[in-house]
């Protein structure tokens, strides 16, 4: 899996700062610890020098013990004076055998070593000929300082790495904000909202992109509007001649018996096609109206009452199971949705056999079931397209406008709902409309 750009920027900011600060911390550590150690050694040497002088004076006097005890700087420091055949010590107990022989045999010397589990600086000095003065300075104090220093440096390094990551995240978010806006605008356009635009950009690099995007979207919107207006204009212009044709047709149809034979058949053909033509124009107008201008007037209504009413008006024989559920919608359009589904069932499956309205969680669901041949998987999307005809198994004398289900989908989408068709057991199809319900489950 490839990491997102934002993720990568965040990581590289974090890693970059981690590297830089750890190099700095490492250098600081080395320099500071070396310097402090050298300082400590120098001061130890100086102190030993002073002590040696004092010891030299009272080497053979019996008060050497007390003198040495007075010279020790703490419970952990040790002073040994090794004379041939005599050993005087003070402070923490250390055996001469625990010290490296090299150091003791060849004074003066200086070394850092661990004696009896304690890190010390050992300083040796020759005293009055053949004696050796050894003083061990504990490094505990310094160790504590080092511990503190390293803790500060590690915390600082980690902190700066986190800061770097946060900075990277923020910077990339800021830098990518126009991209996120572009993405959301493009998504809205793809979803059908042609009014989506990008906000004006200050950055000259992005301004060009935003301007281009907006002009493209504008052109697209204009074109879609033009197309819709054209469809609307065409069907509008067709209305007047159609009114004449439909009514002249009705007059002729009443006098059908005066036109026997061929002329009668031709008249029948003509009038039924004129009627279908009229239906098509009406549906086309409705669908192009749904495309552009909006006279959508939502109100809260009880879907079950609406469904019962539509079914009672024309499909009295169809059983209905309806429980109350409130939706916000346009009554006329929802009437239309159900009527079109019922007509569709009549046309393709000898009519609906069951209609139900129920609330499923947060959606209201209408189901129209028929016992016909069903809709093959491959056509389930397609039948909701405009002028999608020729559903296999449909009758030859199809008199629909070819826009019925397209209108259903159009109206349902306008209500922020969904519509689909599925198999019904044991045979037939089930058309399902889901609309957002108002209020919780009843």
């Amino acid at each position: 899996m490839k990491l997102s750009l934002r993720c990568r920027v965040t990581l590289s900011f974090g890693a970059g700062l981690l590297i830089v600060t750890s190099v700095l911390a490492f250098a600081t550590w080395n320099l500071a610890s070396g310097y402090m150690l050298r300082q400590r050694e120098a001061s130890a040497a100086r102190q030993a020098e002073v002590n040696v002088r004092l010891v030299e004076k009272s080497l053979s006097s019996p008060g050497l013990d007390e003198l040495l005890a007075g010279l020790t700087t703490g419970p952990d420091s040790t002073i040994l004076v090794l004379s041939p055949g005599r050993l005087v010590t003070a402070g923490r107990k250390v055996e001469p055998s625990e010290l490296p022989p090299d150091l003791v045999d060849h004074p003066p010397g200086r070394a850092r070593l661990t004696v009896a589990g304690l890190e010390v600086i050992a300083v040796t000095r020759p005293v009055a000929g053949d004696s050796v003065y050894v003083e061990l300075f504990p490094l505990q104090q310094l160790d504590r300082t080092f511990g503190f220093l390293s803790a500060v440096l590690i915390a600082g390094t980690i902190g700066s790495a986190l800061l770097g990551a946060a900075l990277g995240s923020w910077a990339s978010k800021r830098a990518l904000k126009p991209l996120a806006e572009l993405n959301s605008a493009a998504g809205r356009i793809a979803g059908g909202d042609l009014r989506a635009r990008l906000p004006d950009q200050d950055d000259p690099d992005l301004a060009a992109l935003a301007a281009k995007f907006n002009s493209t979207a504008h052109a697209l919107e204009q074109r879609a509007l033009r197309d819709a207006r054209f469809a609307s204009d065409v069907s509008h212009e067709l209305r007047s001649p159609l009114t004449t044709m439909v009514n002249a047709g009705a007059v002729l149809r009443r006098r059908r018996e005066h036109l026997p034979g061929t002329a009668g058949t031709a008249l029948e053909l003509l009038t039924s096609e004129v009627d279908r033509f009229a239906r098509m124009v009406v549906d086309l107008l409705e669908i192009s109206r749904a495309d552009q201008t909006d006279d959508y007037e939502p109100e809260e209504l009880d879907l079950s009452a609406l469904v019962r009413h539509v079914i009672a008006s024309r499909w009295r024989a169809v059983p209905v199971s309806a429980s109350p559920v409130t939706v916000e919608g346009d009554r006329r359009r929802l009437d239309r949705v159900l009527a079109n589904l019922m007509e569709n069932a009549e046309r393709h499956a000898d009519g609906a056999i069951f209609v139900s309205v129920r609330q499923h969680g947060s959606v209201a669901r209408i189901e129209v079931e028929d016992g016909g041949p069903g809709v093959p998987e491959a056509l389930r999307e397609q039948i909701f397209e405009r002028f999608a005809r020729g559903r296999p198994g449909s009758r030859g004398d199809d008199t629909g406008s070819g826009l019925g289900l397209a209108l259903v989908r159009e109206h349902v989408h306008r209500h922020r709902g969904r519509v689909w068709v599925e198999d019904r057991f044991p045979r037939g199809a089930r058309f399902v409309v889901e609309l957002p319900a108002v209020g919780g489950p009843a």
Binding site: R239, N247, A248, A250, T293, D330
Partner: protein
């Protein structure tokens, strides 16, 4: 019963075809080709119902409707080529009783006309609601003793509501009983008429005390 229809339409072919088809449906149809022509004829002749196209040369359909409404309660159906809410509402606000959109079929139009001319209403007894007195027999409404002029449709709408005696009357029932709509009930048609009715019988139409809205369902009269 022979119903006299005045058809006002400027497109000659539509006028002829509609006239023929409506005659077939049993109406006596008179034609007028302009608003001026229609108003002139209405001064001397009487008709049972008028069909008027909204887009006419000269005086337009809306003006004709308004003028006629100021003269009396002749039932008017407007014919419009557009289904835009604005046109429809403007026509209804001007005082039309109903509307149809092109391409209209004479059979549908005939059903509309018959529904409009039906005089039947629930109840024969006079009804009192607050200071409102309805006498269905005479077709009269008085408010605080003063006569209120309602159109036939407004009167029937009021009667339907009053007949339910305070129970809710759904939109569907009203559309069906008053206008003869089976389905595709047009909310705008009902809303505009309720608005017109309130303007005439309510003391304060913006805060109705007699005709109450039942949200999501319909209307009821204060019992």
């Amino acid at each position: 019963m022979c119903v006299g229809v005045l058809l006002v339409e400027d497109d000659e072919r539509i006028r002829q075809a509609l006239s023929l088809a409506l005659s077939d449906e049993g109406f006596t149809v008179d034609e007028a080709s302009s608003g001026e022509d229609a108003l002139r004829r209405l001064e001397t002749e009487s008709f049972d119902v008028m069909l008027v196209d909204l887009t006419l040369p000269g005086i337009d359909g809306l003006e004709v409707v308004r003028t006629l409404r100021s003269r009396g309660d002749l039932p008017i159906i407007v014919v419009t080529a557009r289904t835009d809410a604005r046109d429809v509402i403007a026509g209804l606000e001007a005082g039309a009783d109903d509307y149809v959109t092109k391409p209209l079929m004479a059979s549908v139009l005939a059903a509309r006309i018959r529904a409009l001319l039906r005089r039947r209403g629930p109840g024969r007894e006079a009804v009192r609601i607050g200071d409102l007195e309805i006498r269905p027999q005479e077709g009269l409404v008085h408010r605080a003793g003063e006569r209120v002029h309602l159109t036939r449709t407004e009167f029937r709408l009021l009667l339907e509501l009053a007949g339910a005696a305070g129970r809710i009357v759904t939109r569907e029932q009203l559309l069906q009983k008053v206008w003869g709509y089976d389905y595709f009930g047009d909310t705008r048609l009902l809303d505009v008429h309720i608005r017109r009715l309130r303007r005439k019988i309510e003391a304060n139409p913006d805060d109705p005390a007699l005709v109450l809205t039942v949200r999501g369902t319909g209307y009821r009269i204060r019992s």
